[in-house]
């Protein structure tokens, strides 16, 4: 039963859940290859490869996550079933997370084999992509659940992602904003402050998901279709 329901939920999460993470990573890898092929520096290629893990994958996962939360054509039927709808959405987000995790691990391994460095080594290497992905996906899910609007949720995700890129120094320089900075590894490195930043992101992501669960447990928040 367990596997069958997960397979069903993988299908319900939609093709984007399965395609967006690999597309994000392939995109980064392709540009890195292009840079090297056009006599770009090794450092530039490495930065791009790292951005694939730390910047592009979280964005892709977040955009799919907000779609999973807002889009469901059989919502009323789901709410009448003994399986909590929250569990159903959780499984779909889980599928998305699992796909992203497997691909990021494979990507990081291939990148390392090719002689490029993508931050810390060992288990800490997971946090290069896991921490920003969890934070941004949690944020996306929360805004989507609270507003039921893909436009607002995707705009909010885009705002955070782009603002952190454009005003990176402001985020790094402020002790208040630093735990929210998604691109610490690629912009600052994995030295002092990196671990605290990752823990901050993980904690923030978990908090976002917990609040999302609380919001989604109120069925009337889900019944009315996005109209905003």
């Amino acid at each position: 039963m367990t596997l069958t329901i997960w397979l069903h939920e993988a299908r319900r999460a939609g093709p984007a859940a399965l395609l967006a993470p690999p597309a994000a990573l392939l995109f980064a890898a392709a540009i890195a290859v292009f840079i090297r092929a056009t006599n770009g520096s090794r450092a530039q290629a490495q930065t791009l490869l790292l951005a694939g893990l730390e910047a592009i994958t979280p964005l892709a996962v977040a955009m799919v996550a907000l779609t999973i939360v807002t889009r469901e054509s059989c919502r009323e039927l789901h709410l009448s079933l003994p399986t909590p709808h929250l569990a159903t959405i959780g499984r779909r987000l889980g599928v998305l997370g699992a796909v992203a995790a497997v691909l990021c691990l494979a990507y990081a391994a291939v990148v390392a084999l090719a002689g490029y460095r993508t931050g810390s080594s060992g288990v800490a290497a997971l946090l290069v992509w896991a921490a920003p992905t969890l934070w941004l996906a949690g944020f996306a899910a929360l805004v989507a659940a609270a507003t039921r609007s893909t436009v607002l949720a995707s705009s909010a995700v885009a705002l955070v992602w782009l603002a952190e890129q454009v005003w990176a120094s402001a985020f790094v320089g402020s002790p208040l904003l630093r735990p929210l900075f998604l691109f610490f590894t690629s912009r600052v490195g994995d030295g002092p402050g990196w671990a605290a930043n990752r823990v901050g992101l993980l904690a923030g992501g978990l908090l976002f998901l917990a609040v999302t669960a609380a919001v989604l447990s109120k069925p009337e928040r889900l019944l009315s279709e996005e109209d905003a």
Binding site: M1, T4, I5, H8, R11, R12, S73, C74, R75, E76, L77, H78, L79, S80, L81, P82, T83, T88, P219, E220, L223
Partner: protein
């Protein structure tokens, strides 16, 4: 499954959808009538555990729906066909039923698949069980909807406006199917199509403005129009007194059936009312009818 509803209220902001509903459903086929916006869908959603009530009590099969445990207990024995059932267009009926079956807790794969096949056969969709749902007509989609509702052999079946958009043949077939299902379970049929209730239910309730305007036997509702249902034949315009329930043009003129406390014309003749006329008579009366 016995259902007891007491002083049920539901508000959406400033709008009161249900305003103190008291209702008892003993079993069998029960019709819920009312105009659009009367509160039928809200009541169905509360009974299905989809929406919480603002206040009041609903006890279904001994379970209190205001508690989470009670809601889940009822949902384990529930089949629900919402008014607007969206289907997943990329699935076949077999896959859709398999998915819903899993979410209903039917863990045995062989039993689940067998049940899905039987239900698709029951609703006449065996031939298209392997076709994607995206090409299905409205009637076929409704039949998939009733098949998923019947998964797990529910003791309570709630169907909300099931015959909207169906052609006459589909509608008759659907009604017959629902009637046959009511032998072994409670079937709650919510509709604004009086004919559906007339053909299938012995007990009914009428909601108006979020309140119960009538509850009792279908024959009692019909009786509300006795002495106030008239037929007149005229080549001229329709009568202005009362509510014209039907108008059939024949060679001798148009035959009007009118619900009116007074004769709508000097030559009007009292006739035996139908359920539709009973419903109209009820809705015309300003005050809610005595419950009974």
């Amino acid at each position: 499954m016995h259902i007891e509803i007491a002083d049920l209220r539901r508000r959406f902001g400033r709008v009161t959808a249900l305003d103190g509903v008291d209702l008892t459903v003993a079993g069998g086929m029960f019709g819920l009538l009312g105009t659009n916006g009367a509160g039928k869908t809200t009541l169905m959603r509360i009974l299905a555990g989809v929406l919480p009530a603002t206040s009041g009590r609903v006890i279904a099969g001994g379970h209190d729906l205001s508690t989470r445990a009670g809601r889940v207990a009822v949902q384990r024995r529930l089949g629900y066909l919402p008014q607007d059932l969206g289907l997943y267009p990329d699935l076949t009926p077999t896959e859709f039923l398999d998915y819903v079956g899993l979410l209903k807790g039917l863990d045995d794969r062989a039993a689940r698949r067998r049940q899905a096949a039987e239900l698709l056969d029951l609703v006449g969709l065996s031939d298209v069980a392997g076709r994607k749902l995206k090409g299905f007509s409205g009637g076929m989609r409704r039949r998939v909807g009733i098949a998923q509702a019947l998964l797990g052999d529910p003791a309570l079946l709630i169907v909300d406006e099931p015959t909207v958009g169906l052609d006459p043949e589909e509608r008759i077939r659907f009604r017959t199917l629902l009637s046959s299902l009511a032998d072994a379970r409670t079937v709650l049929l919510s509709t604004h199509i009086v004919e559906d209730v007339a053909q299938t239910c012995r007990q009914t309730a009428v909601l108006a403005g979020g309140r119960v305007a009538f509850t009792g036997a279908v024959t009692d509702l019909t009786a509300r129009a006795e002495g106030v249902t008239w037929e007149i034949v005229t080549p001229g315009p329709p009568p202005t007194d009362g509510v014209v329930v039907s108008a059939i043009a024949r060679t001798d003129g148009t035959h009007y059936r009118v619900v009116s406390p007074q004769p709508p014309a000097p030559d009007a003749v009292l006739v035996t009312p139908s359920l539709e006329e009973g419903y109209v008579a009820l809705m015309r009366s300003a005050a809610p009818a005595p419950v009974g």
